[in-house]
């Protein structure tokens, strides 16, 4: 497939990116990993007239922790997350998700921030970031702002990012002591779209659940934060009965539909099972950390 024509600019600085976006607005698209954008253009689902390649912009490829956050630059690739020792040791939900994204060749190019910006209802990172309470830091030529992932995700392939804005960082609250999480994904084969995904994150505080993050992917028009299920756990002692109840409530937050990957009823049941299993695992890790 030959993509239709477009202009291409290899930006050398963030300022250049912001100027181009200010000038061309929704005619322009950011090219980072390109693993979703290039197929979309080839298939004529997207027709930008300008691609702004940010791969040559310095300073966007870092994963670093500051006093209260883990900061992931816009050019951090899935493979960088897989390889990060900091993430494997302290951010178990991210560490569990990263190796399950697409396939190794795509992980070598695709970026975490790009996956969020693409907002595929079946994309892996959105639920992880919802569970972790992350936000994106975005910039435009007229300023900068933070957008929580819940506000950022609007619907299928739709976000609240303005066409003149670019994500510069994804910011995750720094992992406190006594925290744990995991990621469970059902897929028919490597590289297929997810059938059901559950991302879990728990922080313990004096034997009770301080913070609970439960999010679902591929069972609705966008990734879903299961807030009612989180509320079941929050402030309470995580007994097996309570975890059962949270899983049940989470399954009701899902909005699955029947398709070739399974019936809505089946997917809702997988949500319940995944959330229950994932909570056990998150709890085990939180107690050990």
């Amino acid at each position: 497939m030959y993509p239709p024509s477009f202009d291409y600019r290899a930006a050398r600085s963030l300022e250049e990116v912001l100027e181009l976006l200010a000038e061309r607005g929704d005619e322009a698209k950011i090219l980072a990993g390109g693993q979703s954008l290039i197929p979309l253009i080839k298939l004529r689902f997207a027709a930008p007239t300008l691609l702004v390649d940010i791969n040559g912009v310095d300073g966007l490829g870092e994963i670093r922790e500051d006093d209260d956050s883990l900061r992931i630059g816009a050019l951090v690739r899935h493979r960088d997350v897989v390889d990060s020792e900091m993430i494997s040791s302290r951010y178990p939900a991210m560490a569990a998700a990263a190796p399950l994204i697409a396939d190794p060749l795509i992980r070598n190019r695709g970026t975490l921030a790009g996956s969020l910006a693409h907002a595929d209802p079946a994309a892996d990172w959105a639920s992880v970031m919802l569970a972790l309470g992350a936000h994106v830091h975005v910039r435009s030529s007229s300023g900068e702002r933070d957008i929580s992932i819940d506000d950022f995700l609007q619907g299928p392939f739709t976000t609240s990012l303005d066409p003149t804005e670019v994500i510069t960082e994804v910011v995750v609250p720094r992992a406190p002591a006594r925290s744990g999480g995991t990621y469970l994904k059902l897929e028919r084969r490597v590289g297929d779209f997810a059938t059901v995904v559950a991302a879990l994150h728990l922080v313990l505080s004096n034997g009770t659940v301080g913070t609970a993050g439960i999010a679902l992917t591929a069972v609705g028009p966008r990734s879903i934060k299961a807030a009612d299920a989180e509320a079941v756990l929050s402030g309470s002692e995580p007994t097996p009965e309570l975890l059962d109840q949270a899983a049940d409530v989470a399954s009701r937050a899902a909005q699955p539909s029947d398709d070739v990957r399974g019936t809505a009823e089946y997917k809702r049941n997988v949500v319940r099972v995944f959330v229950r299993r994932g909570l056990d695992r998150a709890l085990e890790l939180a107690r050990a950390s």
């Binding site: 197929p39 080839k42 795509i106 590289g191």
Partner: protein, 160 residues
């Protein structure tokens, strides 16, 4: 636009439209037809090449993105007349049937061996999970990679 890329050690300048995919630049402009177009939708890995040493799908990258970068295609694996251990492994263990996926399989495998000289069967299958063989010849492909790993390590021992 004019781009300069180093393919298999040769620096070359080509004039391409921004929309040209890297795989088409390699095949149609540089006449390196060992890189195949399979699914053309980032699924099959037949178009795998090494981009600065990292395996990627060349149907999902623009040629202009290779400006200033180094690429290795299957034509660059052999050193003069000497087969790369991975090529020798595929020959020895009959790691191919129709051969369509083979160049991609070999490049992804060669990159694996650079990172992990002694991969387990699991490591190999995991590393090749973005490359599909429609003949389903995976058993021999895995054997071929194991053969190449052993060969490379014994060569290294021989040299030291």
């Amino acid at each position: 636009m004019e781009i300069t890329l180093t393919v298999n050690g040769n620096r070359q300048t080509v004039d391409v439209e921004p929309r040209m995919l890297l795989v088409h630049c390699l095949r149609d402009r540089l006449r390196l037809t060992g890189t195949h177009v399979g699914c053309d939708t980032s699924n099959c890995g037949a178009c795998t090449v090494l981009y600065d040493g990292v395996p990627i799908k060349s149907c999902t990258m623009l040629a202009v993105q290779a400006d200033g970068h180094e690429l290795t295609t299957v034509e660059g694996l052999a050193d003069g007349g000497q087969l790369h251990p991975i090529q020798a492994g595929f020959k020895q263990e009959h790691g191919l049937q129709c051969g369509f996926c083979t160049s991609g399989m070999m490049l992804a495998s060669a990159a694996l061996l650079e990172r992990n000289p002694d991969p387990s069967e699991d490591d190999i299958r995991w590393a090749l999970s973005g490359n599909i063989c429609r003949c389903t010849g995976y058993v021999n492909i895995v054997k071929a990679v194991r053969w190449a790993a052993n060969e490379r390590r014994s060569e290294k021992v021989g040299q030291s």
